[in-house]
Chain length 430, copies 4
C-alpha cells in the first residue's frame, strides 16, 4: 500500500488507529455479551465506553517491544487507561479472537468501500455502452479484423464481466464476514457458543463453524482470489483501451488534460498511461492470490505464518483493487471515442469481413463447406494485392456459377450482421 | 496429467476421443436448434446421428497438420464420413462456439465427477469425527501445546472446510456451465440468440451474457481458483496427518499395507507418504491459478493465448484434484489413531494447559490481568526444570493469597474445558 | 507434457524407459565406484552390464503396486533379471541417491537439448536483425509512435535478451548437475565421500555440498525460475509479432502456409497463432516457478512433497520451453516483413517524431526546457486536426524568434536519428 | 513495505527523498559526460552541484498532479531551484534514462545492504554448526526417524544453501547494475553510446546491450526470482526450527526474552514466532516473482505497466528479504539447543535406525537384498509393540543363521555412522 495507489479511505481503514479501534470494538462487544451471560459484571463495557478512550499507537508499540505480542501490548495499554475494570476484558479469549474478528470486519468493510466504486464503473460502462450502442467497429480476433461489432457492444461485454465481479465481491464479503470468540483452540474452554454468537452478531459477523485458534484461512484465500479475478477483468478492459489508442488504430483514447505532458523527451506524446497502470496493478492484486492460498495449511490448531502475509496483502490487495475500480471508472467516463476512425478502420479491408456470409450462402446453395471456404479464401487473399473483394467474388467463375452478382452483393450488409446488438445490450444492461 | 495421478474417468474425460465426441454433440445440438428455427433442413442432424460416427483422431490430426486449425480439421473429417449433409453443420458458427461450449461441458462434467469423491471424503471425515469425538488430544498452536481439543474436533474442522469446498465446486460448476453459439465475434451475425439458447439448453448450458469470439475467461479463472482453494484445504488436512505421524508425536498414522516398504535403505520406516504426496499435489493445483488469471485479459474480441494454457491446466488441475479427493478420502478412512499416544502427549506437560483457567480465576478475584499473567507464567516456566505446575501454583504466595488450594485444583478439569465439543460437532456435522 | 507441445526428444527424455535406464546407470556407476573402493566384488557391474538388461516398465509398476515404493520396485525387478549379483547394487544407498542423481542427469540433459534450439533462435534473430538492420520503423512506446528505430534494431534487442537467456540456461545447467550418493540422511553412514565423488564424476555430476536425504531443492527452484525468465523473453518477442501483425499495423506477419486456414467461420483470416500460442505457453513455464519455490522448504532431512511436483513440472516446463524455442526460431526465420507498411506507418504522423530534436535545438538556443516543451507540444497537438507539424513549427512566432526555417527543417533528418544503429547492432551481435 | 518488517536503511533507500537524490545523481552524471563530450557547456553540472539542492518532494508531487508525469515534475522543480542552467539537464534523454538507471542503482544498493546481513547469517550458521558439530541428532525423513546426523550437520546444510543464496544475490546484483542513457527508444537519437558509457561508469553501472525505451525487464525478473530462491532457503531453515521446537521434540528453541509473553490466553506458551514469521515473509518475497516475470513482455519499445508493479515489489521484496536475513541471523545466534532432548529423542526407538547396517551385513553374507529387507523389517515392526530391536534380530532364526550375535550388535555403532561428519563440515564451511 503506497500512497500513490491508496485511496484515502483505505489509508484510514488500514491505519494503526483504525485497527486498534476495531480491536476495542471486538473486546467491548465480547464483554457486553459476557455481561448478558452473567459472566462479567453488568456495566463493565459501558463504563469503558464512557471514557472515550484515545488509544496511543506509539505506546502500544513500545509495550510490544517488551512483550513481543501485539494484542497483549494493546490490552496492557487499555488497562493503563481504564484501570481495574480492564481485567474483565478478553475474558476466556485468545488474541486471535480479537485479531480474526477484527480482520473480518476490516476485510468486509473493504468490500463495502469497493461497492460504490464498482457501481460507478458499472454505471460508466452502461452509459457509454448505450451511448455508442450502434457505432460500428470492426471486431478483431487475434488482433486481425474479424467481423463487425459495435463500440457499445464491446463495452457491454466489459459491463457483464464487471457485474460478475460485483457478485464475486459480495460472495467474498459474505464468506469473510465470519469472526470467532472461542478461545485458545476454538473449544470455548472458558466461553460459550452463545456468548460468541451474541457478540459477533453485534459486530455484523457470523461465528466460524469449527474454529481452531483462528478462523479457517480457506475463507481468506477465497477472498483474495476473488479480488484477483475482478482485477483481471479490469486488466482486460485496460488492455482493450491500450489497443484502441494505438497510433494506427486511434479509435478511442484516454482523456488528456490541460497541462498534461506525455513524455519528458517527446512533446508530441499522448500515452494510455492509466490503462497501462491498471494492467500493472492487476499483477499486484493477482500476486496476492498465491500467498493467500499458501496460508491455508496452517499447522495443527494454527501457526502464525499467515499473519505477516496478511499484514501486507490485506491492505495492498484491497486498496489497490479499490484504486483500480476508481481509476477505471474515471477512464471509462472520460474515454474519447473517435467515430470517424472507427469507420475508417472498419472500411480498410473493403468488406472482407462479409466473407462468412458469402460462404454460408454458397453452402446454402449446396456447395460443400470446405470447398466454398477455398473459393472465398482465394478472393480474400487477393485483396492483399489491392484487389476488390466483392468484385473478385462476383467475377469468380465457381462462385458466379452458384450466386448471382446481386446475391453476392446482398451479403455485404452491415445492418444485417449487427441486427442483434440491441438484444445483446438488453441482456447485459437489462 | 500423468498416469500416476490421473483417475481413470479423468483420463477418458480428457481424451481426444471424448473431446471430439463432445464437439460433435455441440455441432449436432446447434444443428437441431437451427432445424427448429428453420435455418437448416429438418432431419439433418438425425441423419448424421444415425450413422453413429466413429471419429478417427489420427485422421483429424493429419488434416490439422495441413490446415493448422483443429476445428476445421474435425469438420473436414466429419464431412469425409457424412458427405453432403455435413455442410449444414457449423452454419454461422465459429470454432470457439464449438470449443468453448465443449470445454464448458467437460469442465462441468469434471466437477460432477469430483462430487462423489468429495462426498466420500466428507463422509469419511464425519464418520471419523464422530468416532473420535471425545478422545482428548492436546491442541497445538505454533506446534506448542496449547489447550485440549479432541481428535474428533480436529476432523470436524476439516469437514467444515471441505464442506465449504464442496459449495465452491458447485459455484464453479454453475459459473462454468456457460456456452456460446454466437458466431465469429459474438454478434450472432448469421445466428440468433434463440438458436443459441435452444441448443445450449439441450447441452445443459446457459448462454454467455455478452460473448466475444469466446466465453469470457473470468469464468475459467474463477473455476481454477476455486479448485486451488479446495486443494489447499486438503493440504491442511494432509499437513496435520504428517504432524500427527511424526515419530515423537505418533498420534495417528496412515494405514501401512502388507508388503509395503517404507524406504529402500531403512527397513524400519513407515512414512506418511500419502499426505506428503497430497501436499505436493496441492502445489500443482494451486499453480494453475496464476495462468488462469493471466488468461482473462485476451486482446479485443479474443486471442488464442488461453488455448494452450487450458489444454494443459484443465486436465491437470481437474484430474489432480479428483485424485487428491480420492486419496485423501482413503487416507481418512484408513487412518490409524493411537488413543494411548494421544493421552500420553496430553499429559506430558502435567496440566500446563490449564494455565488459562487459573489466570481467569485470579482475574475474577480482582487481580489485574497482566499481573495474574505474570504469576501464572512464572510457575509455568518452572515446569521446564521439572517442577509440578499445580503444586507450584498452590505454593505460590501471590496466588495462594487469592485462591485456595481447592480452587486451584478445580481449574484442572478436562471435562470442563471440553464441555462444548458436542455442540461444535453438531454445528459442523448436524 | 501433452503431445501437442512436446518435442520428440523430450518425450523420450521423460519416458519411463529412459528414467529406468538412467536409474540403472546411476546404480552401476555407484557399484563400479564401490568396486574400486573394494567394498563390492570387482566385476559385479561388468557382469550386470553384459546382460544388456531390458527393463520392463509394466513389471516395475506391478511390483510398485505392492511395495508402494518406486525404487524398491525397480531394484526388485533388476534382481529378478540379474539374480544374486544384484544384491550388491544400491549398497548403503537410499532411493534418493538414485532418484536425485538421475533427475540431475535428466534436467541437465534437458538443457543440453535446449541449447541447439536456443542457438537456432539466436541465429535466426541475428540473421534477420542484419537483414533488416537499416529498415526504418517507427519506435513505439505505450503503443504510441515515439521516435524511429529500425526493424533490425528491434530484433537485435530480442537477440540480446535471448542471449542472456542462454547464459541463464547454462548457469541453471551448472547448478543442477549435482548428484548425491550419500545414504539415507546424507551422512555416508555406509558409504564414503570418495565413492560418491568417483561415481558422480563418471555420470558428469558433482556431489552436493551438504546433502540431506536429497539434493537441496534451492537448486531446482533456481533451475525452474531460470526457465521462466527465458520463456518470458520469448513471450516479449511473440507479443511484438502480434502487434506487428495487427491489421492496421501490418508491418510483419507470421508465414502462412499453403492449405492453412485461419478461421472456421471467416475465410479471410490470417492470424498470428504461433505468437499467441507462445504467449500462452510462457504462462505454463512461468507457472512452474511457484511450486518449485514451494518445494524448497522440505521438512527436516526431507519429505516427499516435492516429488509429485517434479514429476509434473520437470517434463512440462522443460518440454514446453524446448517447444517454444523451436517454434519461435521457426517463427523468426519465416517472418514476412512488409517494408512498405513500415514506411507507411513511419510517415503517418508527418514527422511528429522529430519533436525532440526541435526541443533540444530551442534549449540550445537558450530557451528554458519546460517552455520549449510547451511550444513544441502545441504544434504537435495541432497535427491531430490535420495541420503539418513542420509548417506549424516554422510559423510559430515563439519558435521562429529562435530558429530559422532551415534550422527547424534540419531537425527532420531520419539518417541523423538512426546514425548509431550499426554501433548498437555490433554490440548485440558482434 | 510496512514499518514492522522494514529495516531502517531500507526505509531510507526507498524513500522519496532518496529517489529524487538518485535521479539528480543520474542527471548530473549524464550532464558531466555531455560536458566532456562538448555537448553541454563545461561547468554546468558543477554549478548545479554547488547549490546543494534540497529537493522538495511535496512540491514535486504538486507539479506532478498537473503534468501527470513524475520525471517532468522533478525536472520542473529542479529548474525552479537552479534557473536557466537547468535547461542543459536531461538533454536528449527520456524519463526512463533517469528512472531505469536510478532503479538499477537502488536495486544494486539493496543487494549491497543485504550482503552484511547474509554474511551475519552465514557466520552464525557456521559458528553454531561448529559448536554442535558432534552433537548427535536423529535425522528424520518424512518426519519419521531415519538415521543419525548431528545438529551441526543440519546447520551446515543450511549454511551451504545460504552460501549459494549469496552467490545468487551477487549474480543478481551484477545483472541489475545496468543503466541506460540512450534516449526515447534506445537509439541515441540525440546522444551517443560514448556519453552513456561515460556517465554510467561514474554511477557504477554498465550500459544495456540493446535498450528499448527501457532496460530490458528480464534482468529484473531474474533479480526478483533470485530473491525468492534466497527467501525459500530461509523458509527451510525456519521450518526446521519450528519442528525442533515442537513440544514433543523440544530439541531447540528460539530465545525467549525477559518480559516476553507467548499468548494472551495461555501464560505457559513459548512459541517459535520468529520462525513462523519468516515462513510467512518467504511467501511475500516469493509472490513478487510472478509479477516480475509478467513485466518482461512489455509492448514494443515499452509500455508503463511494469512501473506500478516495481513501485510496490521493489521496496517490498528487498526490504522483506533484508529483514528476513537479519531476523534469521538473530534466530540462529540465539537458538537454544537442548542436548539432553536430542539424546532422548535419538534413543526413543532403541536403535531402530541401525537397521540398514544389519541389512547390508546380511547382503554381504550373501542374502538377497529384498529377502534381507523382509527379515529386518519384521523385527523393526515388532518394536512398535515394545520389543527390543537388537534382541529381536539376534533371536531371529533367519538372521542368526547368517550373523553371530556379536556381528549384529556391532552394527549398533553411532560413531561409525557419524564418522564422515567432519569431512562434510569441512566441505561446507572450509
Amino acid at each position: 500500500m503506497i500512497p500513490r495507489y491508496t485511496p484515502k479511505d483505505f489509508a484510514e481503514l488500514w491505519s494503526s488507529k483504525r485497527r486498534f479501534e476495531v480491536w476495542l470494538e471486538v473486546e467491548l462487544a465480547a464483554c457486553e455479551a459476557m455481561e448478558r451471560a452473567s459472566v462479567v459484571p453488568v456495566g463493565t463495557a459501558a463504563s469503558i465506553r464512557e471514557k472515550n478512550l484515545v488509544l496511543d499507537s506509539d505506546r502500544i508499540d513500545a509495550i510490544e517491544r517488551v512483550v513481543k505480542h501485539d494484542v497483549i501490548a494493546f490490552l496492557t495499554h487499555v488497562e493503563e487507561l481504564v484501570g481495574p475494570a480492564a481485567r474483565w476484558l478478553h475474558r476466556g479469549m485468545t488474541s486471535s479472537d480479537v485479531l480474526d474478528s477484527a480482520l473480518a470486519i476490516l476485510l468486509r468493510d473493504a468490500v463495502d468501500a469497493m461497492l460504490p466504486r464498482i457501481d460507478r464503473l458499472l454505471a460508466a460502462l452502461a452509459a457509454r455502452a448505450k451511448q455508442h450502442a450502434h457505432v460500428p467497429m470492426i471486431g478483431r480476433s487475434h488482433g486481425i479484423h474479424a467481423e463487425p461489432v459495435t463500440f457499445g457492444l464491446a463495452l457491454a461485454g466489459h459491463h457483464a464481466e464487471i457485474a460478475r465481479g460485483r457478485v464475486r465481491l459480495l460472495t467474498a464479503r459474505d464468506e469473510i464476514a465470519v469472526g470467532k470468540i472461542a478461545g485458545a483452540v476454538g473449544s470455548y474452554a472458558h466461553l460459550t457458543p452463545e456468548i460468541e454468537a451474541d457478540a459477533l452478531d453485534k459486530l455484523g459477523l457470523r461465528p466460524e463453524t469449527v474454529a481452531t485458534q483462528v478462523v479457517s484461512r480457506d475463507r481468506h484465500a477465497a477472498y483474495f482470489t476473488a479480488l484477483a479475478v475482478v482485477a483481471a477483468g479490469i486488466e482486460r478492459l485496460a488492455t482493450n483501451v491500450r489497443h484502441w489508442q494505438r497510433t494506427e488504430v486511434a479509435e478511442a483514447e484516454e482523456a488528456f488534460t490541460t497541462g498534461q505532458k506525455g513524455s519528458s523527451a517527446m512533446p508530441h506524446k499522448r500515452n494510455p498511461i492509466l490503462s497501462e497502470n491498471l494492467c500493472g496493478l492487476a499483477r499486484i492484486v493477482r500476486a496476492a492470490a498465491i500467498p493467500a492460498l499458501e496460508d491455508v495449511a496452517l499447522w495443527h490448531e494454527r501457526d502464525i505464518s499467515h499473519s505477516s502475509v496478511e499484514r501486507m496483502i490485506a491492505p495492498d490487495a484491497t486498496a489497490t483493487l479499490a484504486f483500480m475500480l476508481e481509476r477505471s471508472a474515471g477512464l471509462v467516463e472520460g474515454l474519447v471515442v473517435y467515430d470517424e476512425n472507427l469507420r475508417r478502420n472498419l472500411e480498410i479491408t473493403g468488406g472482407l469481413f462479409f466473407s462468412e456470409g458469402v460462404l454460408l450462402e454458397l453452402v446454402g446453395k449446396g456447395v460443400a463447406r470446405q470447398e466454398a471456404y477455398v473459393w472465398v479464401q482465394r478472393n480474400a487473399m487477393r485483396t492483399r494485392k489491392g484487389a476488390s473483394f466483392v468484385d473478385g467474388l462476383v467475377a469468380d467463375p465457381d462462385i458466379s456459377a452458384k450466386m448471382t452478382e446481386q446475391e453476392v452483393r446482398r451479403c455485404f450488409d452491415l445492418g444485417h450482421v449487427l441486427r442483434h446488438v440491441d438484444a445483446i445490450l438488453a441482456r447485459a444492461l437489462g
